[in-house]
């Protein structure tokens, strides 16, 4: 079992956190998110992202609005709700905490 495989569950779990971060930094639509994730360890695909975004919307973390684009049909631009913002703040804190724990435990 390679290390990438070993960490696949962790990456999967972190995807939602990263999506929150991406949406917090900018108003984005799905193709933007895929592009930003595409060059990283967290590269993902529409088949994963759309269901995830719909789940996050059901949980009230993100919302979208339709915006006309200059090329093609209107797009869904996602943004964080108030709940999403506080969730992200918590996750950021927790992530820092986890990192600190890892660097303190052993070497």
């Amino acid at each position: 079992m390679s290390v990438t495989e070993r960490f696949s569950a962790i990456r999967k779990g972190l995807l939602e956190f990263l999506i929150l971060r991406i949406i917090a930094s900018d108003k984005v639509y799905v193709a933007d998110m895929l592009k930003r994730l595409g060059t990283t360890e967290f590269a993902t695909q529409e088949g994963t992202l759309y269901p995830l975004l719909s789940k996050m919307r059901r949980e009230g973390l993100v919302d979208y609005e339709w915006q006309e684009s200059d090329a093609g049909p209107p797009r869904k631009y996602y943004e964080l709700t108030a709940k999403g913002k506080s969730q992200l703040a918590e996750l950021n804190e927790y992530w820092k905490y986890i990192n600190a724990t890892i660097s303190q435990l052993g070497r």
């Binding site: 290390v3 569950a9 060059t39 590269a43 993902t44 529409e46 269901p51 995830l52 789940k55």
Partner: protein, 360 residues
């Protein structure tokens, strides 16, 4: 000839051929099944259809109105399997593969380095093989054949390359030597492998000796603490500069020996006679001081150049090469002098006599 089917993807009409259509229907039906329990099923499927439509548009142009089966296949691959759980189950082999593709696709610029891992000698063939993307055995055979054809003369080329090409010491450099983007994953893998090697070979003793030598090297040259390793260019320069400095040092040394010889035998150096009030041993002392004054900065510069460009690391290889090269230059210079300077030939011929008169 393929039948063309017009489809409606979230309100966009597209024409695709029959095989492509079958693939697309299978994909969207699979998505429907996966999302059967999802309250947002219809919306997600509409989003997916829209995404597929956008990708289809990318394949069409003013003179291309039908999306081919292969293109549909590619689109479906890009979309990836639909995850009905909304990202709660750890099953993303697709994303894994894509991440790997992304890594290899955005390759860092490849650079020529010496690669010591698995090298026979200095890692020249290894580095060249990685640079050219061929098997190292092929490069070695080519080198061997060239060596045989030139009756060993090609060995000099190897030596020159070993000296001029910087060696890949950091993980980033090793990655660049193979034209890959450096990533933490490789670092972990390599560290693991190195640790295993380290343990299996049980060469901690050698490692310890190296460490001690390194410490002594630091204490001896007393440089400022831990200078950063130089860049590729700086190290290329070192490769060229160190042999040059060696050559100059060796020239100085032989010139000095010649000056002493000349002083002892003819009581003059370069036509300058030794003043009467200075004894012979005084003249020799002066020559020693002059030699030290010239050679010491040269020697020091050489050491500094090596030291700074390699980030303070003790480089046994470069020191060894330096020694070998100095010796080589020394012999070469004597040989040339013997060939072309009658005086030198005379000196060398008289050396046994001088030796005899000393020992007798």
């Amino acid at each position: 000839m393929q039948k063309v089917i017009t489809i409606n993807l979230n309100g966009n009409a597209y024409q695709i051929d029959e095989t492509g259509y079958a693939g697309l229907v299978a994909y969207l039906e699979g998505a429907q099944r996966q999302l059967a329990d999802n309250p947002d099923r219809d919306e997600i499927v509409a989003d997916l259809e829209q995404a597929i439509a956008d990708k289809c548009r990318g394949f069409l142009g003013p003179h291309k109105t039908v999306v081919a089966a292969a293109e549909v296949e590619q689109i479906i691959r890009e979309m990836g399997p639909v995850d009905g759980t909304g990202g709660t189950q750890p099953d993303d082999a697709g994303a894994d593969r894509k991440a790997r593709d992304a890594r290899t696709a955005t390759g860092a610029p490849r650079r020529l380095y010496l690669i010591h891992e698995g090298a026979m000698f200095a890692g020249v063939c290894n580095g060249l093989a990685a640079y050219a993307g061929v098997d190292v055995t092929i490069v070695r055979i080519v080198f061997l054949v060239l060596g045989l054809i030139t009756k060993g003369g090609f060995g000099l080329v190897y030596l020159a390359l070993a000296f001029v090409i910087p060696s890949a010491d950091t993980s980033e450099e090793r990655a660049a030597a193979r034209g890959q983007t450096f990533n933490a994953q490789e670092l972990i893998d390599r560290a693991k492998k190195n640790y295993a090697d380290f343990k299996s070979r049980r060469d901690w003793r050698r490692q310890w000796r190296d460490a001690r030598r390194r410490w002594r090297w630091h204490a001896w040259s007393v440089p400022p603490p831990s200078p950063p390793a130089g860049g590729y260019g700086a190290r290329m320069m070192t490769g060229l500069l160190v042999p040059l400095l060696s050559l100059v040092s060796v020239l100085c040394f032989w010139f000095w020996l010649w000056a002493i010889y000349s002083l002892v035998t003819t009581n003059e150096v370069l036509g300058q006679a030794l003043p009467d009030d200075i004894p012979l041993w005084g003249g020799i002392l002066i020559l020693v001081v002059i030699y030290q004054a010239v050679a010491w900065p040269l020697h020091n510069t050489r050491r500094r150049v090596v030291y700074y460009s390699f980030g303070g690391g003790y480089q046994p290889s470069i020191v060894a090469w330096d020694g070998v090269m100095s010796l080589g230059f020394g012999i070469l210079i004597v040989w040339i002098a013997y060939q072309y300077l009658p005086e030198v030939r005379e000196i060398i011929r008289t050396v046994p006599d001088v030796w005899d008169s000393f020992t007798r």
